[in-house]
């Protein structure tokens, strides 16, 4: 048995510094050996990328470096942050949720039509969230109890949610409700003549809650365990079924919440809102360092992933001369690069290589 893969258990003053054999530096040993190691590395890479992208923008375009541009990344993408957090739960178990974009659209349509019918805003919001949770529960139950592929189940969920939008209303419904209006227009003034919307605070609160759930509760650790090895998790006596259904309920609910934030942003309910937004969320999660096979990644990475997407979009709109399709092309290339980087880091993380 070798010493090479383990660090000294306790800080022993008499022990020599942890110089790994084979000339491995301490940080490399740390990368290889800690739980946080290679995944933290991926998140760091995303963070560095974000800084580089933003720096490039600041250098090339006047006013790009102003604080409000940075804050606008959050203001314009608060809904996507919430969506990506929900998606991270599902992807950590090794699943996928293709329905989330359609659930966003459905949420805008349900909210708008209920408000149009004169329902009070809190009730409309409750109905939207409950719908998202119910859809998520149905999909999770199908994935777990019928042992169906998450891809197919959530694809069906996507068509169902999108179809329901059209059943409720084909044309776009404007929203004039005072609460929704104020959520859309009121801002929180920050020092330096900058501001944030309430949606940003909601998104950040969701993020903090998600970090706590994933890292400090049995439910959260079971999410990671399932992603690592589902049959082992079951043999270890963990609540695999409940957890698997749970992540789809979380994703469905957060998709509905993202739909509400999107409604605040657009002030309308429309069947064709958020087309392909689930793919933006998946891209953000992957760029944020979460493995699509599950078991490794952080919601904070997903936040950074969303910000990277937002920065690319900002860069292209600042340029003015480039078509907005360049956003998609850049995101595509980035995604490819990140998946390759992931493959390389996971290969390194295995013993004996």
């Amino acid at each position: 048995m070798t010493v090479s893969d383990t660090r000294p258990t306790a800080p022993d003053p008499a022990a020599p510094p942890p110089a790994g054999p084979g000339g491995r530096r301490p940080w490399q040993t740390w990368l290889r050996s800690t739980t946080t190691g290679s995944r933290t590395f991926s998140v760091l890479v995303t963070g560095v990328l974000l800084v580089v992208l933003f720096g490039t923008g600041s250098a090339r375009y006047e006013n790009f470096g102003s604080p409000q541009v940075a804050l606008n990344l959050l203001v314009d993408n608060a809904h996507l942050v919430v969506l990506a957090v929900g998606m991270t739960f599902v992807i950590l178990t090794g699943g996928i949720d293709l329905s989330s974009g359609a659930v966003v659209a459905l949420s805008t349509v349900i909210a708008a039509s209920l408000l149009e019918a004169g329902w009070p805003a809190p009730v409309a919001i409750a109905v939207v969230l409950a719908t998202g949770a119910l859809l998520g529960w149905l999909m999770g139950a199908a994935v777990h109890h019928l042992q169906l592929q998450p891809f197919i189940v959530t694809l069906a969920g996507m068509f169902l949610a999108r179809g329901l939008c059209f059943v409720i209303s084909v044309p776009s419904i404007p929203i004039r409700d005072p609460f929704f209006q104020s959520m859309a227009q009121d801002v929180v003034e920050l020092p330096g003549n900058t501001f944030l919307t309430y949606s940003v605070f909601i998104a950040l609160a969701v993020l903090v809650a998600a970090v706590w759930v994933l890292h400090r509760t049995r439910f959260g650790r079971t999410v990671y365990a399932i992603g690592g090895n589902e049959s082992s998790a079951a043999l270890m006596g963990l609540a695999v079924g409940r957890t698997k259904v749970g992540v789809y309920v979380i994703s469905g609910t957060l998709s509905a919440l993202a739909g509400l934030l999107f409604t605040f942003y657009m002030l309308s309910g429309y069947s064709l809102h958020a087309i392909g937004m689930e793919l933006d969320a998946i891209a953000a999660v992957v760029i944020g360092g979460t493995l699509l096979t599950g078991g490794a990644g952080y919601v904070v990475g997903s936040l950074l992933g969303v910000l990277v997407l937002g920065t690319i979009q900002a860069l292209i709109s600042f340029d003015g001369g480039l078509s907005s399709w360049w956003t998609k092309i850049t995101v595509g290339v980035l995604l490819l690069v990140f998946v390759v980087v992931q493959r390389l880091t996971t290969r390194r993380a295995r013993p004996g290589t």
């Binding site: 383990t6 258990t9 290889r32 190691g37 365990a225 690592g228 078991g295 993380a349």
Partner: protein
């Protein structure tokens, strides 16, 4: 991994060592058509390592599963700590203090060592997981096993051996009175085995009863205090390890089948001209972790037997000869010319045929007809662009079905409806159709009735006298000695001897397997 000096044992052992902590008696389990276990007894004592011995199919796994609540038994009793118990799930058995660590590590490689130990029963404080207490508990159990593993490191970054030890740590983190280790050493090297044994001894000294299953005799003799030997689902005996000579153990495990088969007449073996170039010749052929380098010559018209216990390397060697696994050392020559076998396709191109040990998973296709199964390999050899003409196919199928006496004699019957022996004949015929120069047979007679067995043995002898070279693997030593011209004895993944089949006896082989040719 470094070890700290063994501390005083955790005095958790029950009071009197004469009282077994687990007593299974008269356990009988019947599966449809098979008596998997017949009135088997097993006693586990606190502070003892108990080895469960037997060849494949002897019933070891079934007995373990009856103990750990995976299988229910048809008759018999299980007494744990003096009270009669019957577990309906592994979780129930674990709650009663019976933990199992399987050959493949059932943990989550993406989580930390600490989490793998405490997952599902983490200490909690004010509604969330108390990470500091988790780490303290993990450290405590690792210290109890004298393991120096960083509890914060990711499990997957450690070698399998360390992961296995962590699995043991998880098992003993609960109040564990009985620890079942099912083939824990099968993928470990010598140093790792020593580390595992140190942990096992520490647990034993703390009063845990350990049930240890392994195919390696040296290891069993090194670690165990007591043994129970099973054969064909029956109890052969319980012995103290110190009182049981190896020779007797091997005889008990293998058993002595009465000479129900008439001795095959062999034309005074097939003599080999001393100057002949062997059809197949391996020099230093080995694969890291699977087989130590082996020299092997197979001449035309000879049957070479590979004898040894399960896990001795006999299957590994045949897989190397077929290119199913790649050799990491040595060279292979066919008719004197060097060949490299990187895949079974290349082996087939050299006209080597391989009938696998696991005929259900790797051999026959149950949902195809006998005809389709027979023609599969020949068609593959011809390439898919040159279909076998219907009439040629029919003729070949009729000829080989008659020659091997496949029953029912219906080429359109689905293969899965045939008996094991007839499936084996179809598998053999499939390869014979391709007219191989070298035939590798891994356990061709396992699990088939005695009549079919005799037919297959006769066929092998016939094929050899027609000039084919055959490598014959069997756990039944009588069979090997009877039909092989040359017997290669393997033990613990090494070749220990080569005997002349005509002049040696089963006793010679048993002796070599037990003593490793050092006597």
């Amino acid at each position: 991994m470094r070890t700290t000096p063994a501390g005083p044992a955790d005095g958790a052992g029950p009071a009197t060592p004469s009282q077994p902590v687990v007593e299974m008696s008269g356990i009988t389990i019947e599966f449809p058509g098979v008596k998997a276990l017949q009135a088997v007894d097993l006693r586990l004592f606190p502070g003892e390592v108990h080895a469960l011995m037997g060849e494949n199919g002897a019933g070891k796994s079934t007995l373990i599963k009856a103990l750990t609540g995976v299988y229910s038994y048809d008759s018999g009793t299980v007494t744990v700590g003096g009270t009669e118990r019957s577990f309906s799930s592994p979780a129930e058995a674990q709650a009663a203090g019976i933990s199992t660590v399987y050959q493949e590590v059932n943990l989550c490689p993406n989580l930390s060592v600490t989490e793998n130990i405490v997952l599902g029963r983490e200490p909690r404080r004010r509604g969330h997981i108390d990470r500091r207490a988790s780490r303290t508990r993990a450290r405590a159990v690792l210290a109890r096993l004298h393991l120096d593993v960083d509890p914060d490191s990711t499990l997957g970054t450690h070698p399998i051996a360390v992961q296995q030890l962590v699995a043991i740590a998880r098992a003993v983190d609960t109040d564990c009175r009985v620890l079942v280790l099912d083939e824990p050493t099968s993928s470990l090297d010598a140093g790792e085995v020593a580390e595992l044994f140190r942990v096992i001894r520490a647990l034993r000294d703390s009063g845990v009863a350990i049930l240890f299953v392994s195919h390696f005799l040296d290891q069993v003799y090194e670690i165990s205090d007591r043994m129970t030997v099973l054969r064909n689902g029956q109890l052969v005996g319980e012995h103290r390890t110190a009182d049981l000579p190896r020779l007797q153990l091997v005889q008990e495990m293998i058993g002595r089948e009465l000479a129900t088969l008439e001795d095959l007449e062999r034309a005074a073996a097939n003599p080999v001209p001393t100057d002949a170039v062997p059809r197949l010749s391996g020099r230093g052929l080995g694969r890291t972790g699977a087989l130590a380098p082996v020299d092997l010559d197979v001449h035309a018209g000879r049957v070479v037997g590979l004898a040894g216990l399960l896990g001795s390397g006999r299957t590994e060697l045949t897989r190397l000869l077929f290119g199913a696994d790649r050799a990491t050392s040595g060279e292979l020559r066919m008719d004197g010319r060097p060949v490299r076998l990187r895949s079974p396709r290349q082996a087939i191109a050299h006209r080597i045929a391989f009938s696998s040990e696991d005929r259900k998973a790797e051999g026959v296709v149950g949902d195809l007809t006998v005809r389709d199964n027979l023609l599969l390999a020949l068609q593959a050899r011809r390439g898919w662009l040159r279909p076998i003409p219907r009439r040629t196919g029919d003729e070949l199928v009729a000829k080989y079905m008659a020659a091997l006496d496949v029953r029912p004699a219906d080429p359109d019957a689905l293969l899965r409806n045939l008996s094991g022996g007839n499936q084996q004949k179809v598998l053999l015929a499939r390869w014979l159709l391709t007219e191989p120069r070298l035939l590798l047979l891994d356990e061709p007679t396992r699990g088939i009735d005695i009549g079919a067995k005799a037919q297959i043995q006769q066929l092998v002898a016939q094929l050899a006298s027609d000039g084919m070279s055959v490598v014959f693997v069997s756990a039944e030593l009588e069979e090997v000695v009877r039909i092989c011209d040359q017997v290669v004895v393997l033990r613990d993944r090494q070749k220990v001897a080569e005997l002349d089949g005509a002049t040696s006896s089963v006793d010679d082989v048993v002796d070599l397997i037990a003593r490793g040719g050092r006597s």
